[in-house]
């Protein structure tokens, strides 16, 4: 246990004029790079790196922490308001956030995003401060076999999602899985399904695909209907509605927090996986699944909670083992090392002051984001009433930029356009895009770990039943696959037996 005086020194170190100024600067940069699609937290942190020259380690990390945390809030703003994920981690937020906006509840969705995000970060920091070594050592027990089964379990939720329209849902999932196999297979070093296009060797790019599926298809729909984003007048101010709505779903918050934190603690999976898994889990748990994708606040809560808890969870292995939990965390690690904070299980004692100052900064930032989010929600939401011939080009330009800026490539714009057509078609003809996106996120995790596990066991499938964790995951997957079909039978049987 870390001595209390170190903790207090750390907390006190945050409250200097310089550090508070840097914190605010980081926060602003974070929100801005978050809102802009195509520029993620990693690029944002590198962008402010020149400002940190000559700073003490504590101040530099306080600056970085602002960018790291605030970018996820900014990413959700564009996801909710214009259906364009500002970060890949915010992709799950738009599934229900944007439909809420269309129904005039944009301010509420933004309030939810700020509140659930703040809760995720605050409790995430607490978990990070007090249980990091324990969680990190637990996470290490997840090897390739366990990670593969975890991905499979998360994918099995598709069977619950597609219950309403099983064949089209399955087709959508298959498209996602097939797309996930495109590109170089790093495990066997072979290039697959690139059709001679070198640009596809790194796989179908995720953010560019998402922007096509959601933003471009939305541009098409908006322009053919010649409407504003929100088809009704804005409902209420939304000032505190979102705040209150969030607290009405304590179980959702708890489940999504655990999923987010845990996925974060695993070095192999990042924030977009966490938010999609949390989202999928809520669909699985819900009684009325038909409301998801149509503006169900629960979906926004889950995605945001999962995303932000994961942002903190990613730092668990980063700090306690020196193993970054995600790309963003890897940049964070690199910057920590530049400033002489060497991670490892001793970092909490040896660099205690800096680490606890960092935690305090995260804490303050979460509260600031909440305040900012609640105050500005209703102004941000006004954008949904901007007239059609202005808002359509604005969304178009920003979504194309988001796709272009990642690799500065016009080929990516073609990918985005193709997926725009696909997304429009799927919406029109009753194919849910959710299974596709889930499969695209989880497919690589599933396949890579499947291959690794089989290499390790020399081809024997027994490796998938060799640990207690694996067995539990297998059982959970089976149960989740058959439950949607079993539950009506059970109900009937219960009624009859009465």
């Amino acid at each position: 246990m870390v001595p209390f005086d170190i903790i207090f020194q750390g907390i006190a170190a945050t409250f200097t004029v310089q550090n508070l100024f840097l914190l605010l600067l980081g926060l602003i940069v974070g929100v801005v790079v978050g809102i802009l699609p195509g520029i993620g937290p990693a690029a944002g942190m590198v962008l402010v790196l020149p400002f940190s020259v000559g700073l003490q380690a504590t101040s530099a990390l306080v600056l970085m922490s602002g960018v790291y945390l605030a970018s996820s809030y900014g990413g959700s703003v564009s996801a909710i308001l214009v259906n364009t994920p500002g970060e890949s981690a915010s992709a799950a937020t738009l599934l229900d956030g944007y439909p809420m906006t269309q129904r005039g509840r944009g301010a509420e969705a933004l309030g939810i995003s700020a509140t659930a995000g703040c809760l995720g970060a605050v409790f995430g920091v607490l978990a990070l401060a007090f249980t990091a070594p324990l969680l990190a050592s637990l996470a290490l027990r997840f090897g390739p076999a366990e990670n593969c089964l975890l991905a499979l379990f998360a994918l099995s939720v598709i069977s619950a999602i597609v219950k309403r329209n099983p064949i089209k849902g399955l087709i959508s999932a298959c498209i996602g899985l097939v797309l996930a196999t495109v590109g170089a297979d790093e495990v066997s070093n072979s290039i697959r399904f690139t059709f001679g296009l070198e640009a596809l060797e790194d796989g179908v790019p995720f953010v560019q695909t998402m922007i096509g599926l959601f933003a471009i298809s939305q541009v098409l729909t908006l322009s053919e209907q010649n409407q504003t984003i929100s088809s009704v007048e804005l409902a209420g101010s939304g000032f505190l509605t979102g705040f209150k709505t969030t607290f009405k779903h304590p179980l959702t918050l708890l489940r999504s927090f655990i999923i987010g934190l845990w996925i974060g603690a695993l070095p192999a999976a990042g924030r977009s996986t966490a938010s999609f898994m949390a989202y999928a889990e809520e669909i699985r748990a819900a009684k009325d699944k038909s409301q998801f994708g149509k503006g169900n606040p629960v979906g926004v809560i889950a995605a945001e909670m999962g995303n932000n808890a994961c942002a903190m969870g990613d730092l668990i292995p980063t700090l306690s083992l020196g193993i970054p939990g995600s790309v963003g965390a890897a940049v964070f690690l690199g910057i920590m090392i530049i400033f002489g904070v060497i991670p490892g299980h001793k970092v909490f004692i040896e660099q205690g002051k800096t680490i606890y100052a960092l935690f305090t900064a995260f804490f303050i930032e979460s509260l600031l984001i909440l305040a900012l989010g609640l105050t500005y929600a209703k102004y941000f939401a006004k954008i949904t009433l901007v007239r059609n011939d202005l808002i359509v080009p604005i969304i178009l330009v920003f979504s194309l930029l988001g796709s272009y800026a990642i690799q500065n490539s016009f080929f990516d714009l073609l990918i985005t356009a193709v997926f725009g057509a696909l997304g429009y078609f799927m919406n029109k003809h009753g194919y849910s895009p959710v299974p596709l996106v889930l499969a695209l996120v989880l497919g690589p995790m599933l396949e890579k770990n499947f291959q690794r596990a089989l290499i390790m066991s020399d081809g024997s499938y027994s490796i998938f039943a060799s640990s207690g964790i694996s067995l539990v995951l297998v059982a959970l997957t089976f149960f989740s696959l058959i439950y949607p079909y079993l539950s009506p039978l059970l109900k009937r049987w219960r009624i009859r037996s009465r």
Binding site: E201, A268, I323, F332, G340, R452, I455
Partner: protein
Amino acid sequence: MHSMKKLLVPLLILSIYPSLVQAAQEKFPSRPIKMVITHAAGGSVDLPARAMAQYMQKYLKVSVQCDNMLGGGGRKAMEYVFGQVKPDGYTIVASAFPSRLIGELVYDSKYKMKEYVHLGSWVGGDYRTIFVARDSVFKDFRQVIEESKKRKINVGGGGGLGSTSQLQIVYLKELVKLNLNFVPFDSDAEVTAAVLGKHVDIGTGPLSGAIRNHKSEEIRILAVHAPKRIKEIPEIPTMKELGFDGVVIPYGVGAWAPPHTPKERAKILSDAITTSCKDPEFIKWAEKSSTMLDPMGPEEFYKVTLEDYRSIEKVLPLLKKEK
């Protein structure tokens, strides 16, 4: 729209920053230089490259802008810079070696490292290592070899196509005759996690990353692929001492300019790198971040590339077989 205007204000403030760095000048360089980095922001190639860019702009008096161009394990960026129509010295590339050679030879890429103008390297003296978890049953590399006579050893390695870990595995398989399964991971970090969780028997990775975890007593380095013992960890034997000669796998970060870059411009650039390497602040940065500096001037750097060609060509058929 009101809120959009509010957002623009901080952006405008931010935009002033680069114009402060830029100073107009007549001769070369008179405008910003673009340094293309082959790997992702924040990684083991990116951070030293960015640090170097910061000091280079001090001596070049223009800003050096870093641009991460990912794809094909670094091949995309190497091909992009190689194919510059006007090699005017304003676009250079920073990457790791000798993995760029593997990319060229094994994957038939559209660039030739030999034709690249070598500007200089700064990170070096970094070598591949073999490590296990601190509480592993293996206490030294001999035990691993003994065990591999009884069963296949699972070896983890990070970094996709054309990486140095592929080269190391080929060496272990063919020269050390280790009976192994190569388990490829996405990154060195995942390898360390798999080693700590006992999912693989041994892990491979660069010394610069492993040494931190070795010092914090999470892993134990068993051997280094270095010509002589490393001074920070004098107790760890080299592969040569263990009886496997010729198994030296270096790792470094350097910068290149496209072929046919004017000689005097290349000299200005490589002088900036050489001077930066002597900058006390840069050296202090390297120490703090445990980056291993081993600066090489353009001639020496080019010689090393030629040597690397020879040593990789020796195992090229094996590497191609692995592919």
